[in-house]
C-alpha cells in the first residue's frame, strides 16, 4: 500500500497523478451524467414548446392524417384517474404512515411494514397492471377508468406511507406531550395537532406520489386502456396522457409525433414543479417555530 512504503519522489508523483486522475474522472462522469439530462430537457422544451398550442389543451385528437387536434381528453382522463387513485391511495397511505410514526415506532411490525413498502416501490408497475387486470377487468369483462384508478392508487400507497411517516417523525415530541398533557384524546391529538403540524410536508409527499403516478403508462395498458374520445365514465376505458404519448410516439404519423412531444413537455413541467416544491418545503423547514 502506498502509505506504508518509504516516501520517494517517484512514489509521491504517482500518488499525485492518481489523485488528479481520479478527480478528472469524477468530474467527467458528472458532466456525462448532466449532459443527457440537459439534452433531454432542452430538446423536449424545444420540440414540445413549438408543438404546444391552445388546441392541445382543448381539443381531442383529430382523425388520422389531419392536423390540429390535441390531447384534451387525455389530460382530463389523467385528471380523473388521479382523482380516483387518490381516493384509494391517500387515506390508506397517510393512515399507514400515521401508524408507523405514532403507534408502531421501532416495533418489529413497523419495521416489516416499512421494508415491505420500500420493496413494493420497486415492483415493476406493469405487474401491478396485470394484477388489477386479473382482479377487476377480467371479472367485469371490460376495461375501465376504475380499474386504472385502482392500479394507480395501489402504487401510491407505499410512497405516501413512507413520506407521511418521515414528515410525522419530524414533529417534535414536545408537541405531542403538550397535547396529551391537556387531556386531549390520542386520536384527536394525532389528527388535529401532529398531522396538522406536519401537513405541509405530508401534502407535498402526496404531490410527489401524484407526479410519479401521473407519468405511469404500463399499469394503464390493460386497465384504463386509453380512449380516443371524451369520456368521463368511470366504467369505460379512459384516455391518459402518458398512455396517449406512448401510442402516438410509436405511430407512423408526424402529426401524432408532434402531439407526443407536446404531451411530454406537459408531463415534464408537472414533474419539475412537484420536485421543486418538495425540495422547497423540506429544506426550508416545514415546522415554523417548532424546534
Amino acid at each position: 500500500m502506498a502509505l506504508a512504503q518509504k516516501p520517494s519522489k517517484a512514489n509521491y508523483l504517482w500518488r499525485m497523478f492518481v489523485n488528479h486522475a481520479a478527480t478528472t474522472l469524477a468530474v467527467v462522469s458528472t458532466i456525462l451524467v448532466v449532459a443527457p439530462l440537459i439534452a433531454i430537457f432542452a430538446y423536449l422544451v424545444y420540440k414540445g414548446a413549438s408543438s404546444l398550442n391552445l388546441a392541445f389543451f382543448t381539443k381531442t385528437p383529430a382523425p388520422v392524417g389531419e392536423t390540429g387536434g390535441g390531447m384534451a381528453n387525455a389530460i382530463v382522463g389523467s385528471g380523473i384517474l388521479l382523482a380516483l387513485s387518490s381516493v384509494l391511495g391517500v387515506p390508506i397511505g397517510i393512515a399507514a404512515g400515521i401508524y408507523l410514526s405514532e403507534f408502531g415506532r421501532g416495533g418489529r411490525l413497523a419495521n416489516l411494514v416499512r421494508f415491505t413498502a420500500d420493496v413494493l416501490n420497486g415492483v415493476p408497475s406493469i405487474v401491478m397492471g396485470i394484477a388489477i387486470y386479473s382482479l377487476i377487468v377480467l371479472p367485469q369483462k371490460h376495461f375501465s377508468a376504475l380499474s386504472g384508478g385502482v392500479a394507480l392508487g395501489i402504487m401510491m400507497i407505499p410512497t405516501i406511507t413512507r413520506t407521511t411517516e418521515e414528515m410525522l417523525l419530524m414533529v417534535p415530541n414536545s408537541i405531542r406531550e403538550a397535547a396529551l398533557g391537556l387531556g386531549v384524546p390520542n386520536w384527536r391529538s394525532v389528527l388535529a395537532i401532529t398531522l396538522k403540524t406536519a401537513s405541509p410536508g405530508v401534502i407535498t409527499g402526496c404531490m410527489l406520489a401524484f407526479a410519479r403516478v401521473a407519468g405511469e403508462t404500463a399499469p394503464l395498458l390493460f386497465t384504463a386502456f386509453g380512449n380516443q374520445f371524451w369520456s368521463a365514465n368511470v366504467n369505460q376505458p379512459i384516455a391518459a396522457l402518458p398512455l396517449q404519448i406512448y401510442v402516438y410516439a410509436l405511430s407512423p404519423y408526424d402529426e401524432w409525433h408532434r402531439l407526443a412531444w407536446a404531451g411530454a413537455l406537459v408531463l415534464i413541467v408537472l414533474i419539475v414543479v412537484s420536485v421543486a416544491l418538495v425540495r422547497f418545503v423540506t429544506t426550508r423547514g416545514v415546522l415554523k417555530g417548532a424546534n
Binding site: G106, P172, S174, I175, E177, A178, A179, L180, G181, L182, G183, V184, P185, N186, R188, S189, A192, I193, K196, T197, S199, L287, K288, G289, A290
Partner: protein
C-alpha cells in the same frame, strides 16, 4: 379550588431501570410544593406519574397508588380524564406552532369538543390574565402564532393553556430553566398568585426558587424521597445528612 395528592408505595420503571422506589408522600392542597434533587434523581418521573404521562412511554411502568382528592387515578379513571384535571407545564415551552395565541389557549377545550364561543372567549381572557400575559397579547390574539412569542411569553402561554381547562392541580417541570432571569421572576410571581386557586407541584433545579415559592419541599435522591417537610425546615435545618449535603452544594 385545588385538591391534595396522596402517593403510596409508588414505584416506576423505565424498562429495567427502577427510576422511583417506594415513594410515599402527601402533597397538600392549595399550596406550592417544590421537588428538588440532582439530575436523574427521578423528580421529573415522579410528576409525570401524577398525570399519567409516564406510561405514554412504551417502556414506562408504574405500580402503587396515587390519590387525587379521593380518586385513585390509576384504577378509577382513564389517563385522558386524569389529564383534564391535572395540568402540566414542561421544561421547554411547547406552544402549538400552527395555532394562534387564542387557539393555543383554547386548544384544551376545543379539542375536547367544547364549542361555545362566548365561554371560550371568556376562558381565554381569564387564563391569559392569570398567566400575566393578557396585556401583552390582547391585541394580537388571533393574528400572531403561538410560536412567534419570546421564550418567556411562550411559557406563560403554555401556563395559560394549562389553566384554561380549569385543572385542580398544576404540575410544573422546571418551568423556568430555559428562560432568562426576568421571565423567571415573572413565572415565580405567577406561582405565588396561582397558589391560592390550584395545588402546584414544581420540579426545580434551583434551590433558591424552591425557597422562594414553595411552602413544602421534597428532596429526591436516586429514585427515593429522602426528606419531605416545610421549606423553611429543609433549608435551615434539614433532618437528613444527604439533604444537607445537597443544599450546601456538596453534589448535584
Amino acid at each position: 379550588m385545588g385538591v391534595g395528592i396522596e402517593v403510596s408505595q409508588l414505584n416506576a420503571w423505565y424498562g429495567t431501570n427502577h427510576t422511583l422506589q417506594d415513594i410515599n408522600l402527601k402533597i397538600p392542597a392549595n399550596q406550592a410544593t417544590a421537588l428538588i434533587g440532582p439530575s436523574g434523581c427521578g423528580k421529573s418521573t415522579f410528576v409525570r406519574c401524577i398525570n399519567r404521562m409516564h406510561e405514554t412511554n412504551p417502556i414506562g411502568k408504574v405500580t402503587g397508588t396515587i390519590r387525587v382528592g379521593d380518586l385513585d387515578i390509576y384504577n378509577d379513571a382513564s389517563p385522558v380524564e386524569i389529564r383534564r384535571r391535572i395540568g402540566m407545564v414542561f421544561q421547554r415551552p411547547n406552544p402549538f406552532p400552527t395555532m394562534s395565541i387564542y387557539d393555543n389557549v383554547a386548544a384544551g377545550l376545543r379539542l375536547n369538543g367544547f364549542s361555545n364561543r362566548r365561554i371560550l372567549d371568556e376562558v381565554v381572557e381569564r387564563s391569559l390574565k392569570h398567566a400575566a400575559l393578557w396585556d401583552e397579547v390582547k391585541d394580537d390574539l388571533k393574528k400572531k402564532s403561538g410560536a412567534s412569542l419570546s421564550g418567556g411569553q411562550q411559557q406563560r402561554l403554555c401556563i395559560a393553556r394549562a389553566l384554561a381547562v380549569d385543572p385542580e392541580i398544576l404540575l410544573m417541570d422546571e418551568p423556568a430553566s430555559a428562560l432568562d432571569p426576568v421571565s423567571t421572576a415573572k413565572i415565580e410571581d405567577l406561582i405565588f398568585q396561582l397558589k391560592s386557586q390550584y395545588t402546584i407541584v414544581i420540579v426545580t433545579h434551583n434551590m433558591q426558587q424552591a425557597a422562594r415559592v414553595a411552602e413544602r419541599t421534597g428532596f429526591f435522591l436516586n429514585g427515593r424521597l429522602v426528606e419531605f417537610d416545610s421549606t423553611h425546615k429543609i433549608f435551615t435545618n434539614p433532618g437528613d445528612k444527604r439533604t444537607e449535603d445537597y443544599i450546601t452544594g456538596r453534589f448535584g
